[in-house]
Structures are given as structure tokens and as C-alpha cells.
């Protein structure tokens, strides 16, 4: 699709969508939203880019190999954080019992490992959405 208006609007609006998605992911433990919602918003921004610029430009920006690595890396990060609880003498994904940093409720740096887990889920969901869309629309 070669439309100047669509391309210009996409180029202007995609950074704001991505900043909003990152905001939702990073505030997952103190406001509505979290890893799944923020990851979906991030993936949708990349889908918008693919629709207006075409698949070749999008795969140049974000190759299939990179999304595969991100997808596997997100879930491995999640599992490692969960196993950290067992390593420190608690259950899988145990948080306060094994002494992670709790902080003041309502601030960004609080709630132990929940922000790190939310980031892992966000990366996983975003790369899965992008991989699905690129796989469906690619010509065979």
C-alpha cells in the first residue's frame, strides 16, 4: 500500500503508541493493565507499521529471527525469576517470603519481582503478536 497520508500518520503516531504500551507494562503493579495489555498495545503498533509500509520494510526493521529470540527470551526470563524463589528457599515465584525488595506501595520501585515479571510477559506477548501477523500475511 503506497499512500503518503497513511505513511506519514503512521510515522508520527507509532512512537506514541509504543510509549503508551511501555507505560502500561512498567506500571503493571500500581495501575490497571499489566504485561498482557501493554504487550498487546506494543504488538498492535508494529502491526500498524507493517500494514502501512509493507512486509519487507517491517522485516527489515524487526527480523523474524529477532522476534523468535525475544519470544523465547521472555519466557526463559520468567522461568528463571520463578526458580529464583526456589533457590532462595521458598516456593516457585515466591516474592515477599524470600526477602525481595518491597519498597513503598504505590511507587515504581516496589512489589519485589512483579515489575520484572510484567516486563517479561510484555516482551513475550508483543513478539508473539508480531510473529503471528507476519507469518499469516507473508506470501508463500
Amino acid at each position: 500500500m503506497d499512500d503518503l497520508i497513511v505513511k506519514t500518520i503512521t510515522r508520527l503516531i507509532v512512537p506514541f503508541i509504543q510509549v503508551y504500551g511501555i507505560f502500561i507494562i512498567l506500571h503493571g503493579h500500581i495501575s490497571p493493565g499489566g504485561g498482557f495489555s501493554g504487550g498487546a498495545v506494543l504488538g498492535s503498533s508494529m502491526i500498524l507499521f507493517t500494514l502501512s509500509y509493507g512486509l519487507t520494510d517491517a522485516t527489515k526493521k524487526l527480523p523474524h529471527k529477532v522476534t523468535g529470540v525475544l519470544e523465547s527470551g521472555g519466557i526463559i526470563w520468567y522461568i528463571l525469576l520463578g526458580l529464583m524463589g526456589i533457590l532462595l528457599g521458598g516456593k516457585f515465584l515466591s516474592n515477599k517470603e524470600v526477602g525481595f525488595f518491597m519498597g513503598q506501595a504505590g511507587e515504581i520501585l516496589s512489589a519485589g519481582i512483579i515489575p520484572l515479571i510484567t516486563v517479561a510477559i510484555g516482551i513475550k506477548v508483543a513478539s508473539t503478536v508480531i510473529t503471528l501477523f507476519h507469518t499469516i500475511i507473508e506470501e508463500d
Binding site: P32, G33, S37, A40, V41, I47, V129, F133, I136
Partner: protein
Amino acid sequence: MELLNVILVVFLIVCAIAVERTKDLLGAVIIFAAYSLTMAVLWLMLKAPDIALTEAAIGAGATTILFVAVISRTRRMEK
């Protein structure tokens, strides 16, 4: 607030019936996007803003685009 709720629910039911009865598949997908957007507003009124956020991004955004991609691969009209 009560009146808005009734209007939205009636619109939701009309959309759900129209999706099933439309022969044009592209039109049905667009009606389904309207259904998802109405559902997102209803989730917000039911005090579930996180579900509303997900519904607006997945239901009205990603699902519609995936359906349009599938229709462009197959035919547009229902047999």
C-alpha cells in the same frame, strides 16, 4: 448512566445478531469491531479497566486485522 447502559447493551445485541446475518464477510468483520468497542466501554462501566484496555487492543485492533488478512486470502462473500 442507566440509560447509557441500556442503549449500549441493546446496540451490543443488535451487533451480535447482525454479524450472524450478514452475507458480506468484510462487513461482518467491521460490525464485529464495533461489537468489541462497545464491549470495551461496557467493561469500563463494570469497573474492569484492565479488561477494557485488553479488549480495545485485541478485540478491536488485532482480531479485526487478522480477519481482514484472512479474507484477503480467501473470498469475500459467503456462499
